[in-house]
């Protein structure tokens, strides 16, 4: 190929390139609206005639748009970076980031769940505490019954000492040598006496003493550890049957606020305690008991709890050591249950058979007068 031709071709390529560049420049000016109206018209003419030019215009337009978007976004990013630099990110992060401590992190993440769980825990702790507290009290009650017996013992010892000094020469069978004791009451005319099981537990021999100071040998014929009840039977030939029982057993349960009283032997003489039913349930919500606002002392255990009409409401069984002036009484319903364990015919004149209490409508002093013959001191040896 001759050199001139080669140069020629090369120059046309260059010219074409130059034209290309010029075309690009024109297209851009056209797109940016920099051409004069005549030029614009001429160019549009060219564009409609030449598909290649039109294609170039379109592609350049697209490209310019992309470039524009790129520029815009870049600009926006730059602006944001500038703004971002003004923010104290570190300080902000310090307050917002998950706490280094896992505990705090957990707390923040599960705040609400933890709150619920915590309140649940608090609630259960409270209930556990109160249950424990109550059961502690319950334990104390058992302890109290020991204390009670101890107290009785010391009292009895004291009395015995007095008796010893007073009439040592008269060793009567009334001589009080009981180790400890409590109270019991007649549930039949022929010598069945009801008391608390804890009063007679572990006894070698049992005696009851009436208000006149006469003692009778008794033996336990029935014990119920569930309701802490025991039924004793006077087996002494000196015992003569009682006249009909002045009280009846209340079948339904008593209401809170009902006035009640008890007669018991916290010491060697009968002591009256008056009060009212303060709660339908006893320890730990024990439904077999009432709580009674009545001041009782060691020795009152097993005593009858009567309402103003002479109905037997319950049996005094213990007291909470942390509440002054309160006691617990086994509900009368369970007296009936205990009595059912005794052969019905052996009870003779039954307690429940008395429809109307003989004590009803009487003044308290008269009631006590009638009642005291049926309440016994239990002496345990």
């Amino acid at each position: 190929m001759p050199a001139t031709l080669k140069e020629n071709i090369f120059s046309t390529i260059i010219i074409e390139m130059r034209n290309d560049l010029e075309l690009d420049a024109i297209i851009e000016d056209y797109l940016l609206g920099k051409l004069t109206p005549q030029e614009t018209e001429a160019f549009e003419q060219l564009r409609s005639n030449d598909a290649t030019v039109d294609h170039k215009v379109v592609s350049h337009k697209v490209f310019l748009h992309k470039m524009e978007q790129y520029a815009e976004q870049l600009h926006l990013r730059e602006q944001m970076d500038k703004i971002h630099a003004e923010i104290d990110v570190e300080e902000m992060a310090a307050t917002l980031k998950p706490h280094p401590s896992k505990v705090v992190q957990l707390w923040r993440k599960h705040k609400s769940a933890i709150a619920v769980a915590a309140s649940f825990i608090v609630l259960s702790l409270v209930s556990i505490y109160s249950i424990q507290h109550n059961s502690q009290q319950a334990e104390k009650v058992v302890l109290l019954s020991n204390q009670l017996t101890n107290a009785i013992k010391t009292q009895n010892t004291l009395i015995r000492d007095i008796r010893k000094t007073a009439n040592t020469s008269a060793p009567s069978k009334n001589a009080n040598q009981g180790r400890y004791g409590g109270t019991g009451f007649a549930i039949s005319t022929n010598g069945y006496i009801l008391t608390n099981l804890h009063v007679i537990n572990g006894a070698d021999s049992l005696y009851v003493q009436n208000s006149k100071g006469e003692s009778f040998k008794v033996k336990a014929v029935y014990t119920d550890s569930q309701y802490d009840m025991a039924i004793l039977k006077i087996s002494d030939k000196n015992f003569s049957n009682l006249s009909s029982l002045p009280y009846t057993i209340k079948r339904n349960s008593s209401s809170i606020g009902e006035n009640v009283y008890t007669l018991g032997y916290p010491k060697d003489d009968a002591v009256l305690g008056e009060g009212y039913v303060s709660s339908k349930n006893g320890f730990v919500g024990d439904t077999t008991q009432y709580q009674v606002a009545i001041s009782v002392n060691p020795g009152n255990s097993g005593g009858p709890l009567l309402d103003n009409n002479g109905n037997l409401v319950g049996v005094i069984s213990g007291k909470p050591d942390q509440t002054e002036g309160a006691a617990f009484a086994i509900k009368s319903k369970y007296i009936l249950e205990a009595m059912r364990a005794i052969p019905q015919d052996s009870l003779g004149k039954k307690l429940v058979s008395n429809r109307k209490s003989l004590l009803s409508g009487l003044k308290r002093t008269k009631q006590i007068e009638k009642l005291q013959d049926y309440v016994f001191m239990i002496k345990v040896y």
Binding site: K66, L76, Q79, R108
Partner: protein
Amino acid sequence: MNNSLKSSVPTDREVILGILNNSEDTLNKLYKGYFAMVLQFILNNNGDEDDAKDVYQEAIIILYNKIKEGNFELSSKLKTYIYSVCRRIWLKKLTQNSRKAGNITDYEDVLAVEEDVEHHEEKDLQFVKMQHALEHLGEPCKTIIQDFYIHNLSMQDICEKFGYTNTDNAKTQKYKCLQRLKKIFFQP
């Protein structure tokens, strides 16, 4: 600090109008207004401050483009929209990096913004492509193109900056560069 920032947050209407008018002040307030919210979200979901910055800026760009395109309907709070977009982007990133994305701790209500985020991703692809093309253009072409098309310098400025004897030379150079850029950009 949080409160003072929040108090300066412009209303949603203000933001939209400001964006349409290219207000830098609006951007400033908008950016500062919701960054803490996003930072909190990212930090508490396996991310760091830089992640928060990236995600947040993406979200602002998405919001910008949407408003500029004129198809932003203020059907919910702007705050909720930004939060949702950030959340979506961050979830995607977490799964891409196979980081744990199981238990996301949320701080705001969430909208369905998948479409917007995907739309943005396509656009962003173009952005990255352009960035890539510019990187491969080499000097002085890159700077000339950037100065002219991005920083809006006149040909006269460019001519002086690069020491061309006249603007025609500069123009020719610019068009040569543009041609190469197009070539790179449109390369499959």
